[in-house]
């Protein structure tokens, strides 16, 4: 072993050098993120006026606001969550409470993990051919919401599973020995304790839905309407789709920044609330 070369830089110095380098790279990453957020908010927030939020768009979005778009986005997101939550929670309950680890559970988990890796454009294609065409929903909140629900499902399953597993096993046994049936022990003891974790997963799912573009463009449509959507079968443009159109067509820099600011703010709010919820959850179990 050549000790000669190695003694040029002592291990202690190498340690310090590498430390600095690594921390610098970390700092760069954080700065990039900070830059993105600050950039968007700085240029967009001034244009997020009450008018912007409450008025319908005019002149292809060059003027006016995004009110119908906000309603449409909320509709699609809430619908997606309304479908994904029971489905995902049910799967998680079944996996943790009613089965042991075996080939079947591994298969289900493989399904969920794979689904999590499927890119959004594929979901868009699928949603288009399945919901819009085959099931005949047309470009609609229904089609968009269902597609997003499928996209968000793995997230809900995973976080719900972890939340349920985190509930101490003793609680279940105690409930049973006090005269609860299996279902009662789940509903009255396990789920209430797991609730913060489950809700966190749902909130994160909402965040994902709001940011989605490729999957909704082909399912909920991209038509820009003046009126608020009134039925599940109405098509709608979501905020991210609207933003995309504004940016790509160069329609209006102001409105684009404003839309971006609203998007980024929503993500921040969602992530922060999910995080504080998780912390309260963890603190409860010390």
């Amino acid at each position: 072993m050549s000790t000669a070369v190695r003694r040029r830089v002592s291990p202690r110095q190498a340690q310090a050098l590498v430390s600095v380098l690594l921390w610098a790279m970390m700092a760069t990453t954080v700065l990039v993120l900070a830059f993105i957020i600050v950039f968007v908010l700085q240029r967009g927030l001034p244009h997020v006026t009450w008018e912007f939020l409450s008025q319908p768009p005019r002149a292809s979005g060059r003027e006016g606001g995004v009110w119908p778009i906000i309603v449409g986005t909320l509709a699609v997101t809430l619908f997606a969550v309304a479908i994904a939550t029971p489905l995902g929670l049910g799967t998680a309950i079944y996996l943790t409470e009613f089965t042991r680890e075996n080939r079947f559970t591994r298969m289900v988990r493989f399904g969920a993990d794979s689904l999590a890796g499927v890119p959004s454009i594929i979901f868009g294609l699928f949603g288009f051919v399945f919901f819009v065409i085959t099931l005949g929903f047309g470009w609609s909140i229904l089609a968009g919401g269902l597609t997003l629900a499928f996209m968000v499902l793995p997230t809900v399953i995973r976080t719900s599973e972890e939340a349920i597993k985190a509930v101490p096993a003793g609680y279940r046994e105690v409930a049973l020995t006090l005269g609860a049936t299996k279902w009662q022990s789940i509903v009255k003891v396990v789920l209430p304790s797991a609730l913060p974790g489950i809700v966190t997963g749902v909130i994160l799912g909402m965040g994902r839905s709001i940011s989605e573009t490729a999957a909704v463009i082909f399912t909920a449509g991209s038509s820009l309407s003046q009126v608020v959507p009134t039925s599940l079968f109405d098509g709608t443009r979501t905020l991210s789709v609207h933003f995309y159109q504004l940016a790509r067509e160069g329609i209006s820099a102001e409105k684009a920044y404003a839309s971006a600011a609203v998007l980024v703010l929503s993500i921040l709010v969602i992530n922060v609330s999910a995080y504080t919820l998780m912390n309260r959850f963890i603190r409860r179990y010390r």
Partner: protein, 254 residues
């Protein structure tokens, strides 16, 4: 002992997965209103028997069970048993105190509510009676709505006993209830058992032979899944019939 046994176990065998049985063909009878102790080294099967009596071993541990466990003559191991109802009659207190993440009051009324008790007055009454019986009432009566986690270990365990009492049960199972507790808490629990002997039948699994000697009227000694000896406590501890019992009691192994 001419009265019929409260709990009768006949040829009970318990095994997990494909392992050899942890309980081998055990038979014994537990009279009503007795305090009965199971002693023996770790792995002797005493906890498995306990958990089979309230059907936890079958439901939670996936144990395979043969034989009979009869409560007042009714075999609990047949298929058509309402497990929840049985467990209300035969609740269990675990080795580590396990309060539910709720207030003291809510911990106590959890079971009765499931059993259908709804009136506030009745629930309050149950709470006071069971806490008094568990020798805890004085210490917590002014803070019933605080979280159960604010209690000390010994208090939590007494809470768990009160929880069992609140169900108005028939047999109370205790699985090494004092293993983590200080001597004062242990004493309080033993006093509670003694004072409640008339109302319930107590079955206590313990690693502490001195405790068994103090508290129980009859003791069964288990070794490697077999029932070695089953005698009135005083006789077991002073003149055991089996040499293995004598060895265990005198600490030659454990």
């Amino acid at each position: 002992m001419n009265a019929p046994a409260k709990l009768e176990i006949r040829n009970l065998s318990v095994r997990y997965e494909d392992a050899p049985p942890v309980v081998r063909s055990v038979s014994l009878a537990i009279p009503r209103n007795f305090i009965y102790a199971f002693i023996g080294p770790a792995g002797s099967g005493k906890t498995s028997i306990l958990r089979t009596i309230n059907l936890l071993s079958i439901e939670v541990d996936r144990a395979k069970v043969e034989g009979e466990v009869r409560l007042d003559g009714v075999d609990l191991l047949t298929g058509k048993i309402d497990r929840a109802r049985i467990r209300r009659k035969v609740p269990m207190v675990f080795a580590t105190p396990q309060p539910l993440p709720r207030s003291i009051y809510e911990n106590l009324v959890f079971g009765p509510r499931l059993a259908g008790v709804k009136q506030r007055a009745r629930l309050d009454e149950l709470v006071e009676k069971s806490l008094t019986a568990a020798q805890l009432w004085g210490e917590v009566k002014d803070r019933l709505h605080q979280s159960a986690f604010t209690l000390s270990g010994g208090q939590q365990q007494r809470l768990c006993i009160a929880r069992a009492i609140a169900l108005e049960p028939e047999v109370i199972l205790l699985d090494e209830p004092c293993s983590g507790l200080d001597p004062i808490s242990t004493l309080k629990i033993e006093e509670a058992m003694e004072s409640l002997k008339e109302r319930y039948t107590w079955l206590i699994v313990t690693n502490n032979t001195k405790q068994a000697a103090r508290v129980s009227e009859r003791t069964a000694f288990f070794l490697m899944g077999e029932l070695v000896e089953d005698e009135p406590t005083e006789r077991l501890f002073t003149a055991p019939r089996d040499s293995r019992t004598a060895d265990y009691i005198e600490g030659r192994f454990g």
